[in-house]
């Protein structure tokens, strides 16, 4: 198997979905001949015709609103918001219709549609090109909100999203579009609302999703060098939330840090921290900490490195997890999850 980028994996998913199901249509701004500004829809118009993949007028509420109508007629529209912040004009349609139509009609009308949103920063984009808006969507009942972190998941989860009877906000971590990995066409990974443990470790759980999973794994590597066993959970599904997997991990480690790019205040990490604490209170050695963007508008490209949560900031948070107060040293708690790691103290 050749290595595939996440963008290519998404492209393959759309290609296979279009080929297998004539009710799938792909549209949005520049998704036709151009193939999307990130080339996720590259070649789809050429292969499937203008009827299946096409450019629409430039209006996000119109794109989402017409997709609602198409889904009512039985199509499975997959629409793209070109960049995260350009999804805001469609907010009304998303919140008041996409999310609510099934409920409004007592289940008589379902909207099997996917809203693809390239989100997050780290690509040197100028203002409005690097927002992380997952918190807005995740707080909206009636939507499924998912985000892959690997090419294989990108393929599988997008296939699943297209097949879902529910509307899915599909958040694509744009700075991971060029990340490579093995992708087997047709192969499905875990269901999209399931969290996955990406690395075992016994001392602390890092909870990440989308663009920050790779950062969390890097952090785990760095921590391992200092003897701290970091377990990394990739949430994948943001709504609904996979309580079992996450709580399991945190009960095993007794410590947790959530990592995302969005501003921390009122961010998705708050939900993770709150619900993990509710479920794991007596297992926790320290409060669940959150590492994310500052509570500021997304910075200009030349300052974004300071804003994005990187390895150092995550390590700092891990260090603040009140290790000095622990009555059990790392490694001794390994029973629950994975191999014991060498005991070591992390700087206070």
């Amino acid at each position: 198997m050749a290595e595939t980028t996440m963008a290519q994996a998404l492209n393959l998913a759309l290609r296979d979905a279009l080929a297998e199901d004539p009710s799938v249509v792909v549209y949005g701004e520049d998704v036709g001949p151009l193939g999307g500004v990130f080339r996720v829809t590259d070649g789809l118009t050429a292969e499937f015709g203008e009827d299946r993949c096409f450019d629409s007028p430039l209006a996000e509420a119109g794109i989402v609103g017409t997709a609602v109508g198409m889904a009512m007629y039985g199509l499975r529209p997959v629409v793209e918001m070109q960049f995260d912040a350009f999804g805001y004009p469609a907010f009304e349609q998303v919140v008041s219709h996409v999310a609510k139509t099934r409920n409004r009609t007592r289940g008589r009308v379902s909207l099997p549609m996917v809203i693809r949103v390239p989100y997050g920063g780290g690509i040197g984009g100028v203002e409005h090109h690097s927002d992380s808006s997952e918190a807005y969507y995740a707080h909206t009942p009636g939507l499924r909100v998912v985000t892959p972190s690997t090419p294989a998941d990108a393929y599988s989860m997008l296939r699943e999203a297209v097949e879902s009877p529910d509307p899915v906000v599909f958040l694509e971590p744009k700075r991971r579009y060029w990340t490579k990995g093995e992708v087997e066409r047709g192969t499905r990974t875990e269901p999209m609302d399931r969290a996955v443990v990406r690395r075992r470790g016994s001392d602390v759980t890092l909870i990440a999703y989308g663009p920050t999973v790779a950062t969390a794994l890097e952090t785990a590597e760095a921590a391992a060098a200092e003897g701290v066993g970091v377990e990394v959970v990739d949430l994948r599904g943001l709504s609904p939330f996979d309580d079992a997997t996450v709580a399991d991990s945190v009960r095993g480690t007794g410590r947790a840090v959530v990592v995302h790019e969005a501003p921390v205040f009122g961010g998705y990490g708050a939900e993770v921290a709150a619900r993990v604490t509710e479920r794991c209170f007596h297992y926790l050695e320290a409060p669940v900490l959150r590492v994310g963007g500052f509570d500021i508008p997304y910075p200009p490209p030349r300052l974004e490195e300071h804003h994005l949560p990187g390895v150092d900031r995550i390590l700092d948070a891990i260090a603040r997890l009140q290790w000095e107060s622990r009555w059990v040293s790392p490694g001794a708690r390994a029973g629950a999850a994975g191999e014991p790691l060498p005991v070591a103290e992390v700087g206070a």
Partner: protein
């Protein structure tokens, strides 16, 4: 590849007429129109029947609201020609996209009146099966149903169907961005949609002059390369004729259209509105003289097509509908709280199942206490 050029390849569709298209004047006399022909007497009788029955429904719903049996009721009184004329112009397989105001349209379309009032009674957000009646749920956020209609109609056309969609919207709703985007998508995609704008002169307390400076709202069509038609919205024959033609054009691929029906909201915005704060009774009275039911009645009587018996039949039908409605709306069964969790997603999530269980517990405890 696409090619751009330095000159448009088409001219503008004709401007809508400033004088609304009218086939029957205020006193019930026929008016000639160069383009639109009056529907035949059978249709005129169906229009009258629809308006008489619809009005009776509307009056009954208003009474239910005053009695506190509806959470709210936005009345159709005065707008029956638009709603009945628009709906009767539709084919059975066409789709209707109504607003909160369009109860009479839905009743005319055959939706169970109790289902029409489910939203307004507060039992659920919508009370009928959209697929069965080919009626979208009544839409409250203004103009947001318009792109849905465009998407549905475009999908249908793409699938080889020649159905068309009729969107109902108010004068106020045309100011919303979603109206614009829907008009534009419809035009660019050549989607078979007719936007029927019931210009009832008011958006709650705001007169249409504060909504738009266009001579008519139908003029908006020009900016999308669409046809715009300006019709007397209290003339059911004209509304029927214009909408029929617009739907026929749309389904034949001749493009979508905006139809502005100039009418008047005789009642307050809803039962909780206070119109004395913003409009004169004299204005209401002026419009009362243009009543759509009286007008068509006068025509049909003058032409000998309506006798007392026939009119009494329509009235009787309305009374039966009202009586049935009163009876069925008296049933005070509260909706089942379990349903709150039933339709959020296709399958229940662990989270929702847990919450449902918690609520069941609460309800059980309360019942125990009570």
């Amino acid at each position: 590849m696409e090619r751009t050029d330095d000159r448009p390849d088409q001219a503008s569709p004709p401007l809508p007429s400033l004088e609304p298209i009218r086939l029957v004047d205020q006193r019930g006399r026929r008016v000639d129109d160069p383009v639109h022909h009056s529907p035949d007497h059978a249709v005129l009788l169906r229009l009258l029947r629809g308006m008489v029955v619809g009005r009776r429904f509307d009056r009954q719903a208003g009474a239910l609201a005053r009695q506190g049996r509806l959470a709210v009721y936005p009345s159709s009184f005065g707008q029956e020609a638009c709603q009945v004329g628009g709906v009767l112009a539709m084919r059975a397989d066409d789709w209707l996209f109504p607003t909160y105001r369009d109860s009479v349209a839905l009743v005319t379309r055959g939706v169970d009146p109790v289902g029409v009032l489910t939203l307004l009674r507060g039992d659920w957000h919508s009370g009928y099966d959209p697929n069965r009646y080919r009626c979208a749920p009544q839409c409250t956020p203004l103009a947001t149903n318009a792109p849905h209609a465009v998407g549905l109609a475009h999908a249908a056309r793409r699938a080889g169907s020649d159905l068309a969609a009729l969107v109902m919207m108010g004068d106020g709703a045309t100011s919303e961005g979603d109206a614009h985007e829907a008009y534009n998508f419809a035009a660019v995609w050549n989607a078979p949609v007719v936007f029927l704008v019931q210009n009832n002169q008011w958006a709650i307390s705001v007169p249409v002059r504060k909504q738009s400076r266009a001579p008519t709202l139908a003029h908006k069509a020009i900016g999308y390369g669409m046809r715009g038609h300006h019709v007397d919205g209290n003339d059911a024959a004209a509304v029927y004729a214009v909408v029929s033609r617009a739907l026929a054009d749309a389904r034949a691929g001749r493009g979508p259209a905006i139809v502005e029906a100039r009418t008047y909201r005789m009642d307050p915005h809803t039962n909780s509105d206070a119109p004395q704060r913003y409009r004169d009774d004299a204005e209401v009275e002026r419009w009362r003289a243009r009543d759509p039911v009286d007008r068509l009645t006068a025509l049909l009587r003058a032409e000998g097509r309506l006798d007392d018996a026939a009119l009494a039949g329509f009235t009787q039908e309305g009374e039966e509908l009202a009586a049935d409605l009163r009876e069925r709306m008296a049933d005070e069964d509260a909706p089942d709280p379990d349903e709150l969790f039933a339709h959020v997603l296709a399958a229940p999530t662990a989270q929702l199942t847990e919450q449902r269980a918690a609520l069941r517990d609460e309800v059980r405890k309360e019942a125990g206490h009570g």
